[in-house]
Each structure stands twice: as structure tokens, then as C-alpha cells.
Amino acid sequence: MSWQNPWALLGLFALVLPVFIHLLSRKRAVLQKFPSLRFLNATRLLPTRSPHLTDIPLLLVRLAILSLAILALTQPLWVSASRTQVLNSSVARVFVVDTSASMRQPAASGQTPADSARTLAQQMAAESKASLVVQTASPAEALPGASAWLNAQGLRGEVVMFSDFSFGTLDRASVERLSPVFGLQLVRVPSVAATDAGYATTLGRVVAVGDSTATRAEWSVDGASTQDSGVLLLAPATTRDLIEAGARAARQVAPRVLADPSHRIAVVFDGAPNRATLMSNAQAPNQKWMANAMLTVRRSKGLSDAAAQTIVGDTTVTTPFAVLARTQQGSPIVFGAQATVNGARTLVFFHRGPASALSVPALLVAIGEAISDNTVRSGRETIRVTNAQLQTFERTPGDVSASVNAGVPLAANRAGLSDARWFWLIALLLLGLETWMRKQADIQASADAT
């Protein structure tokens, strides 16, 4: 049994009314003319009310009528097997079409993946009982809204998402924002494998490399330089712009907020004027935070992935330097040590290779993660959405009875499907009984009086 309008149950408080009435009422007196009241003394008057309930059977009938009327107002629905079957046969769907930049990259045919996703969504929408097509650049953000819309439909619900599922499109936290009673179907739309074509952001240029199942980002630079803070970047004038752009991009992923302002960090890039000096006076870190930071950077998956992509000439690095990242060929690309910069003891990371390499922002991200406090870092981890992961996100829409248990109002409510009429019918019969009982009581009272 499901109550589609449970607020009406508040009406049960009204049940105290008939109880009060029966408590306060007195038996109706019969008017009788009498020759003289001389011997009917006023001192023998009865108390007009007694603290006992009068006419309990009539009270019970009245309470039953009121209860049935209130229950009928809650729109009760008996979810029988056959009804479940009928209700299960229709599913409401929300189609979320990813229109992010990677989906707008036209293929050789000139059609973008978003276009094909839209067409597909519209075809599927035509077949659904109730449907909604949402086009958004951030599909994960659309899930709470989709959940709310499906809730209002009162049917089984499902979200179908069309995307190439590149970086950050969807993660488990986003999926959990969709009510568990609703299904989730993920349709991967093949996007164009681009190597050099990219798209611009205010911070730089992102180029998709590889296929749509494993997207990586590579940074190139065309933005204006901004002042970095927290970490000193040492680079030659020719590549400073590139480095600055990479730094801005990295700040988007992992803002570099020094957990402790007394910590000093510097990154020295190829060709920096004082690189040789710094390398020559370098020594092994002698502070714990430095060791921790170097360890965190070394463990950074993003940095190691980015380093593997970069090609640099082979070289050897010896103590006091610690190698933090290597190319696929094993050449060290990032290594760290302690040095004195501007007269202060500083943790220095040395970067080898071109300033446009992905390892630059990746290193800065890793440093940001290493030195920032935890609150800043949380939720910033990027994920890589593989087919296997997508399968774990997917689920089928729940049964109608599951929706009922989760408090989802059924579509039956809007369709006027309710078992209230039986409650009204019984209440009506009881009303007849109540009238009859009342008349009998009157007859009895007048018979008693004479």
C-alpha cells in the first residue's frame, strides 16, 4: 500500500474532535410539560456534563468515518503485481548530451560527435514514455537536475548520457548524486583522435592526444603571463611565457597554496640563467617537509605519465640530486635537491626538456599537490574514464516498488489512479449506519422520557 499524498495523514489529528464532542455532550433532554415544579427541586439538578464518553458505539462509528475520509485523501494505492507490471512497462528517460569542446570537434565528415549524440538521443526520446533531452558542457552537473525531474514523473527512471567521457566528464561522486532508484546508461560517442588540433582556453591550449578511451591533455601556451605565487619559477626569458601559461593551467588543477609560508620552493627550467650555479651548490634536503614534498612529487601519477610522453636527451644525475620523474626511455626529466636561492634555503626542482612539454604543468600540479594543505587538494584529482569504469557506473532502472519504497510519488497519482474510492464507499456506508444509530438513539430517548 502506498500513500501518494501522505501529508493528508496530518488530518488524523482531527480525530480528537469527535472524542471531545462526545466527552462534552450531554444526553438530550426531553421537554415535558408538568403541572408543578414544586416538588422537583433545583437542588437535585444533575451536573449537566459528566466526564465520561457518551454513546461509545456512535463515537467509534464517527471516528471510523473520519479516519476513512482522511485515508482516502492520502490517495492510497495498492501496488499489486499486475499494477507493478503496468507501471514497470513505462520508463521516463533523461538524455544528457555532452557538448563540451572535445565533442564539438568535427570529424572528417564534418559532423561533430555532439551532433550524432543529439540525433541518437532524439531517436531514443521518441520511443520513451516521458523524456527530456539536456545538452550541457558538463554532463556530471546535469545529474541532480535529471534526478529531480525523474522524481516528478512517478515512473521508472533512467538517465542516458552521450559523451566521449574524456577527463573529468564523470566520476563516482557525480554518479552518486543520481537517486539510486534510477538507472544510468552511458553511451560513448567516438570523438575525433586529434594530435595537433586543439582548443583554446583563457589559460592555454588543450590538445587531445590518442583515442577517445584514453585522453591526455597536453599544454601549449598562448596566454598572457601572470605572477605566480608560492613557487619561484626560474626560466630563460625566451620560454618564460610558456612556463607561465603552464603554471596557470596547473593552478586550475592544483592551486599552489603553501601550507607553511616559510617553505620555499623553486622550479628551475632548462636555460635558466642561474641553473648552473644552483646545481653546483645543491645539496641533499635536510628538512622533513622537503623530503615529503619530493616523495609526493615522485609518486605523482600525472607527472610520471606526462614524463613518459616527453623525449629528452639522455643524461645522468647523481647525488645530491634525487630523480623524481623519468622519460619512457629512462632518462631523468625532473630531479630535486636543496639549494640556496636569494639567500634562503629552498627546495629546488630541476626540469629538463622543452618548456612546452606536458611534464611542465604536470610537475607544477604535483608540486601544488605536495605543498598545499589537504582541503585545497580534495576533489581535484582527475580521473581517467575507461570503458571498464563506465560499466561500473552503469545500472538499470529500479522497479516501481523500489520507487515506492524510496518515497517517489507514482505517476498513478497524476493519472488519478487511486484506491481512495473504496475508502469513500465504506465511509458512506458507515455514514448511513451513523444516521440510523442517531435516529435509534432519538427514538430511545423519547421512549425513555415517556
Partner: protein, 304 residues
Amino acid sequence: MSSLSPAVVAAIDDLELAARLVVEGLRTGGHRSPFRGHGAEFTQHRVYRAGDDLKHLDWKLFGRSDRLFTRQFRETTNVAVMIVLDTSASMWYPEQGLSKFRYACILAAALAHLVSDQGNAVGLMTMSQGKMAYWPARGGKQHLRSLIARIDRLTPGDAWNPAQVIARGAELLQRRGMVLVISDFYDSEDETRRAMRHVVRRGHDVAMLQLMSPDEQALAFTGQVEFEDLESGQRRLIDANSIRAPYNRDIEEFLARCRNGAVRDGVDYALMNTDTPPERALRDFLLRRNMNGAASRGIAGIGR
């Protein structure tokens, strides 16, 4: 013969007819009539029966016919009887069936009939439309008929001053006679008694016929009842069950007070219940009067 039941009497609209039927019922009662005729005026002969007074034996007839006959006489003493009838609103009870007032009217008419038949004068004293209404005591069928018609026109609910009416009624009797008061005697108990005592002292024969209905006497109601006083209109909500015992005690005390007062003052008293057939109530009253030796003074001689 069976008595006329109160229901039958109530159904008869014509008061004169009802009164005659009641009187007929009295005369044709199954048992021996207690009212022997005697007086100055000869009426008829009757075959002598052992025990008859020998002074009434008709010796001349015996000489002629050789059979014994007793002479019977008609009462010839002309006594004036004043009937005082209570017209207060309390008499208008019960509203359904035979009310105390109608019962009183039937009694009054029947008594008037009896008295007139015996050659006595009968009058009526009551209150009508707030004023005292008086019909002087006279004899004759014409007067009887008009008197009964007047009784029939009376309605209860008028102002009622029993002491004044009784005193005035007795005063208007020009000689010593009889005053018959028919009432429930609820109103001004002491004054009424005083007035009756006064009338007795003036040498009149006074009888009070107190009327009660069974409901009124036993308070035959249950549950919560709102009683409305017929005279004052005042209402009172009462649980009849709980008040019955004290009420019965009070009403019995009241009736006993009336009876004892009457006996003490030398007033003839009879309590009449409206569920008793009027002729039976009347016969019981007259029988008792006769036994008390008052038969010769007023209404008597109903026998043949």
C-alpha cells in the same frame, strides 16, 4: 356492567352525555346500591324483603292485595350544592388523553346531574378569563343543561385564586349547603385550607376532590427530562431517575397533608386518579360519604 374506561370517557365530546353515562353507570352498578331512597315524596312501591323497615310497609295495600309492599320515597330536602372547579393551568395535564381538567369537568357535570336529579339546587363557582365566574345554585333540568354547557365551555389556564373562589362560592350560597371543590390543590395550600375551614365553620358541608394523574403521582419518566411548569412556564432540567424517590416522598407527604388537614377540618376528602373510571371514583366517594353519615345532607339517594 363494566365501568366506562377513562379512554372512552375522554373520547366523548358531549359533556352532558358523558355525565349522564357516568350517572347511569353509578345507578346500574353490579353490586347493591348503597343509596336508599327516603324522603318525604312517595315515588314507588317495592316488594317487601326481610329486613325492610316496617314503618315503610304499606298496610293499606296489604289489606287490599294481601301482599307486602314497601313504600319508597324521593328525597325532598332541597340542598344547594356549589361546585368549585379549578381552572388553573396545572389541571391541563396530561396533554394527551384524559386531562385532569376534563376529568374534573366530567365529575362536576355528573355530580350536577345527580344533585339535580335529586331535586336539589346546583351552582358553579370558578374563574374564567381572569375573573370570577358564578352560576347560582338552582334546580330544574333547564338550569342543569345550561350549567353543563357552561362547564363544557371552560378552559384551564386562567388565573386561579382558590381561597377567594371557595370563600366567595360559600358566601353566595344563600342558605346552608354543600361546597364541592374539585382541584389538584397545588396552589396556595395554606390559604385554601383556611378558606375551607372557614366555610365549614359557617355550617356548610365541604368536600374536596383532589385530582392526580398517574404520571404526576409516580413521576413515570426516565433519563434527563426538561420539565416545564404549566403555570409559570419555568423550565428545569432534571434526571428523572435520581429524583423519583425524593419526589414520590414529597408528593406522598403533600397528599397526606391534604388528607389529614381535611379530616382535621371536617372536610370530606377524596383522592381521584385520572386512570380510574369516573363513575367508580364517584361511587367510592359517595359510598364513603354515606358511611360517614353525610348522605342525607347533599348528594345521596341514587338508589331506586
